[in-house]
Structure formats: structure tokens, C-alpha cells
Symmetry: C2
Subunit: 361 residues, 2 copies
């Protein structure tokens, strides 16, 4: 990835990647405990993340020097019924990567159900590239038929006893150089894991481009719901309603009953929503060309700047939008379309660099 | 990908993906001809792209129903020295995918040099996931050792005679179900291709997330150079210079001699730069709090809106930025930092939704 930060701690919209993955697992009510293997040097950072984002049901164990050793440490923590431990041995255990944040309940359920029946199960995907086997001198020895192979992805699930016993029998070579848990279940537990076709979303954040992709996916998902606040008292011509109609083509609009921005912002703060994601709030004002209150209105709107700085601390991105309101029906429609484009842009980009601005359509 | 448009025609910053790939190949002066295999139904669209983006050295051939058949058609076009053809048989041919836009001259040179020596060569990458072989009933048969295999990527290069003769000997089964040109060179030409380690940038745009990633990479690359235009005549306190210093931490700033926005915009138009990428132009104005010309200045700036609409047609995104200029040194620094953040945001996001806005720092 070319950055000093371990991938799972890289920020997406200012929140570490691993927090998204934990959130995806926490949402699933039938997952009882979540054990995270963390290196000693990142332990305090991880505790901070759990506290800041209020993650639940998390236990931390010390990571090993390889992937397999870390997983083994996690399994040990679940196996040992220690007096002070809040963990107890589960029937089925899911193994997942911190860098696959888009795991859905659907595939988790599929691998767990298959693991109960077959002892082990894992998500797979079609190969994107042909896999080849090089000779010792860096030349093509043979290529594998793409259709006959699969990429092994995560999550995987196992009957706890199957995978824990496999790890206990593991050689040092396996623990050092192995990468595939399904292979351990096969080698030591004689279990042929059930393979479950997963969705493209299961991909692993590996390169910098994957961070970009993850950010875009998250932005797109959280942009699906917007709420418009408008000062409807002065909206004699229902231009607000027209704006809503235009936006509906691009976004799912929830009409709002709020009369005041302040009230919504307080509710946002109470909802904890802005802990997880930056929340975009756009205060839309309509201004009649004939209006005598022009100067006063613009001055009021300038106060948005100061207020925006304050709510920015609570991860709320506040902007003002002034829509001119001419008598000419055609020009009004053009203004509204421009306003809708600005709203869509601010919501989709979700960038803190423009908070407090008064935009004009 | 879940969209009806073929991947190679999906737009990135409003330009089709394949145009980026063609541009990457055109930049390499020692590539003589570029043959593109296009399906009949996309032929007109492809001609339009070549014309709009002024691509050079391109010949179009009809695509086949499979990858291998398309490549074979391309090779035939190069092999046949027809009287009216501007193509002639090359010594070495490169095979590349339209959906790998970030190919660099460096790796092209490596595969071509290796192909001259060994008859065939291709770029490879380490495997991201373990590759497994499923049994007929969808269970794990065995897994492959990740370190002993490679993903075969593009570009690949061949001595023309080696690959053309291989395609001529190919079975129908190969042409229908095969995916790997290196395998054909091995099977029919008895050439063990040289494998060249490629960079992560060679990845294939396959899923929607890859389009997001490609867009972010392109935005990042084109955001590396900015040019600031300022009205330096009134800049007694050299605040423009201070702004430049702040921006230098984030971007490579080229100081500008231009006195007028218009002149720069005309040069941009002549340079053809905005054919390939949306160009962001931010007109920065400094406004003294004491200034008596406040109203007039704001009115002038409002003209940006109309002008922005006009240059938008030429793919130029024009915004205005007004930086307040208080006497208090500390407040001035805060204004400048805010202005720098706004500039950075506009340049990095490169979104047309905010053109014509007057932003305030």
C-alpha cells in the first residue's frame, strides 16, 4: 500500500477501516463475541478505536507474527474457559479479515450454516486473472484453467472443535508459511470445506486503490438517504416541493417536518450517527428577486459560517444554499436544477473543505 | 459490473475508460500502430471516441465473440500486407486490455525486450487470495500454495511470428474457452514466456469499485500541478505569496505570470488539455476589510457565474474564491489556511457541480 500505517488502521472518511468491519459484524445479532488479534504496538490504538466508536462484544488478544499464529491466539482465547473470561467456547467460529469491511449478514449466515453441516465452509469468488506457475528461472511453466479454480476469500466458518484441533496439530511450517485455514481443516481435520459463492463486495483492501474504492462505496451508500430542511412558511409557490421532486431522481429524499436547523442538529448529535459518518446538512433558502430583505437575509446566512465551524467538531458538515426565485417559470426551473446539482455534489463528495460556505443557485 | 455499458466504455471524469488506455499507449513513441478490436455494435461509438480525443495511430478491427478470437482478428490485420492497409507486420506485438489504463512505458519496454530475447513475455503479480480447486460437489479439493503461483496480467509481448503461428494452429476449443495468450505460445510455439513482475497499477478494471478506484487515481495524478492566478497589483502585503506557501505543502504550485484569467483560459483552450481532463480554474481575490469597493467587487465576482457557464462547455471548471484580508496577522493566517483548504478541495474533487460559485475564506 506504500503507507506506514497498517492497512486496517487506514482512515476512510476519518474513521479507521477496522471500525467499519467491526460495525459490519456487530450488526449481526447472532454473533456472540468478536475476538480481535492486535499487535502489542497497536493495542492502545485499538482500545481507543473501540471506545471512540462504541464497539460492543469485542475482546482483544495479542496477535502472532503470522496470520495463522494470530488466528490460533484468537481460538485459544475462545477455547479456554478461564474464571475471569467473559468468553466461552462457541459451537461455530467465523474467521474474517479486518480489511474486508463490506461483509453482509447473508454470506455470514451461509458459511455458518454450511459449517454446521460440513464442518468447514468458506466464501469463494471467480478468478479475475489467469493463475500461472513460474519455473525457477522466472519463465512460464504452466497456466491453470481459470474456470476450474476459485479465489478463496473471507469469511470462513468452522465447527470450533474442527479448526481448533487442526491448529493444535499444525506444524511450525504451517504456522509460519501457511495462509489458508480451509487447508488446515482438510489436512488435519479431514474436512472438505463447503465452498460458498460470495459477492464482489468481499474483496480485501490491499492496495491504495482499494482504499479509494472503499471510500467511494461508503460515500455512495450513506448518500442514499437525505433529509431536506426548508423554511416552508415563506414558500408560497411550493418551490421547495419542486426541488424535492428533482432530487428524487438522484437520491432518496425523506421529507422533513423540522422547522429549525438547530432542532435537527441536536437530534443528530443525540443519535450518535455522526460518530460513524460525517453528516452533511444543507440549509436551503429561497430568495425572491423582488425581496426587500435581501441584505438582511444574506447577512443572516453569513452566520452559517460561524455555526458550521462549531458543528464541524461533531462531524457535521453544514452548508448554506440560496436559491434565487424569479417569477419566470423557466428560470425558476433552471435555478432549482442547479440547486439540486449542488446538493447532490455536496452530499456525494462529503468533503469537509467546503463547510460553512453559502452556495448560490 | 452491473451496468449495461461495456466496461471499456464506462466514463471516468466524463471520458471513456478506453481513451485513457489508448492515451497511455500513444505516449510511447516506439509503438508504431495500435489495433483495437471492437464489436460491430460499438464500432461507431469507438470512431467517435477516436475523433473526439484525437487519438493517433489507431486501426479498428471487428472483435470476435471471445477474447482469443478478437486477438486473432487483430493479429490478422497486422499480418496481411494489403495494398490499401497502412499496417505492416511488426517484429514484436504487444497484447493489452482496454480496461488496464495505467500501463507505463517502463513495463511495456520490459515485456518487449524480454519477448525479443525469449519469444514471449508477460507481466505477473503476486496472488492476493489463495487459489483453490473445488470438487464437483462444490467442496474444497485442494488449495494451491500462494507463493508458488502468480496472477498473469497484461501487457504481454510476443515475437509476431510466434504468437500469430500459435493462433493459426489453435483449436476451436482454445479459441472459445482459452484466456491466456502465454499458454498458446507455450502449447503451439513451445516458447516458455519470460515473466516480468509488474506494478499494482496494472490491475484490470473489473467491478464497479475498480471504476471508483480508477477515478480517484486519475484525480490524484492530475491534481499534482496547479497554477494560481492573482491580481498582484493590489497585493501590497504579499498575501498571495503567503497563500502559495501554504498550498505548497499539499500541491505542486506553479507561480503564474498571467495578469488575467481570460488569457489563461484562452491558452488552456489552445493547449487541448481540457479535451482530456476537466481543468479546474480558481480565481482568487483578496478583499481588505476596510475596502470601500466591497459592493463593486462582489458584483464583479458575481459575473464569474455567467463566465463559468460558458467555459464549462470547454471542460473548464471555473470558481471564484474571495479571501478576506484583515489587519490582524493571526486572522489573516486563518483566512489563508481556509482558502488553501477550499482550493485543495476543489482541485482534488474536480466536480462540475460547484462551477461558478463564489467561495469565501
Amino acid at each position: 500500500m506504500g503507507v506506514p500505517t497498517p492497512k486496517q488502521f487506514c482512515p476512510i472518511l476519518e474513521r479507521p477501516l477496522i471500525s467499519y468491519t467491526l460495525q459490519a459484524l456487530e450488526r449481526v445479532c447472532w454473533i456472540k463475541d468478536i475476538v480481535v488479534a492486535v499487535t502489542g504496538e497497536n493495542m492502545e490504538a485499538m482500545k481507543g478505536i473501540i471506545q471512540k466508536y462504541k464497539h460492543q462484544r469485542i475482546s482483544l488478544v495479542e496477535a502472532g507474527v503470522t496470520r495463522h499464529r494470530s488466528i490460533f491466539n484468537g481460538l485459544r482465547a475462545l477455547a479456554e474457559d478461564q474464571p475471569n473470561s467473559k468468553l466461552s467456547k462457541p459451537e461455530v467460529v467465523i474467521i474474517h479479515d479486518a480489511v474486508r469491511p463490506f461483509v453482509e449478514e447473508d454470506v455470514l449466515l451461509k458459511v455458518v450454516t454450511a459449517a454446521k453441516e460440513h464442518g468447514a465452509a468458506g466464501a469463494v469468488r471467480p478468478l479475475i486473472s489467469t493463475v500461472i506457475s513460474p519455473s525457477a528461472d522466472g519463465r512460464l511453466d504452466h497456466s491453470l484453467e481459470r474456470a476450474r479454480h476459485r479465489a478463496s476469500e473471507m469469511p470462513q466458518a468452522f465447527l470450533f472443535d474442527v479448526i481448533y484441533e487442526a491448529y493444535q496439530q499444525c506444524s511450525d511450517y504451517d504456522l509460519e508459511f501457511g495462509t489458508e485455514c480451509l487447508q488446515l481443516a482438510l489436512k488435519y481435520g479431514h474436512v472438505n470445506a463447503k465452498l460458498v459463492e460470495g459477492s464482489p463486495d468481499l474483496w480485501k483492501v490491499t492496495y491504495k486503490r482499494d482504499l479509494y474504492a472503499a471510500e467511494s462505496i461508503i460515500k455512495e451508500r450513506i448518500s442514499q438517504h437525505i433529509c431536506i430542511i426548508m423554511d416552508t412558511k415563506e414558500d408560497e409557490n411550493h418551490v421547495g416541493h419542486h426541488l424535492e421532486e428533482i432530487l428524487k431522481n438522484e437520491l432518496n429524499v425523506m421529507s422533513s417536518d423540522f422547522e429549525e436547523t438547530q432542532r435537527l442538529l441536536n437530534m443528530l448529535e443525540e443519535s450518535n450517527l455522526s460518530i460513524f459518518y460525517p453528516v452533511v446538512v444543507i440549509s436551503v433558502y429561497f430568495l425572491d428577486y423582488k425581496s426587500v430583505h435581501f441584505d438582511q437575509k444574506v447577512e443572516n446566512l453569513m452566520q452559517i459560517r460561524e455555526y458550521a465551524k462549531e458543528v464541524r467538531k461533531r462531524n457535521i458538515l453544514l452548508c448554506g444554499l440560496l436559491i434565487y426565485y424569479p417569477q419566470d417559470e423557466q428560470k425558476l426551473q433552471a435555478s432549482l436544477r442547479e440547486g439540486a446539482t449542488i446538493i447532490t455534489t455536496l452530499i456525494k463528495e462529503r468533503n469537509s473543505g467546503l463547510v460553512g460556505q453559502l452556495l448560490i443557485a
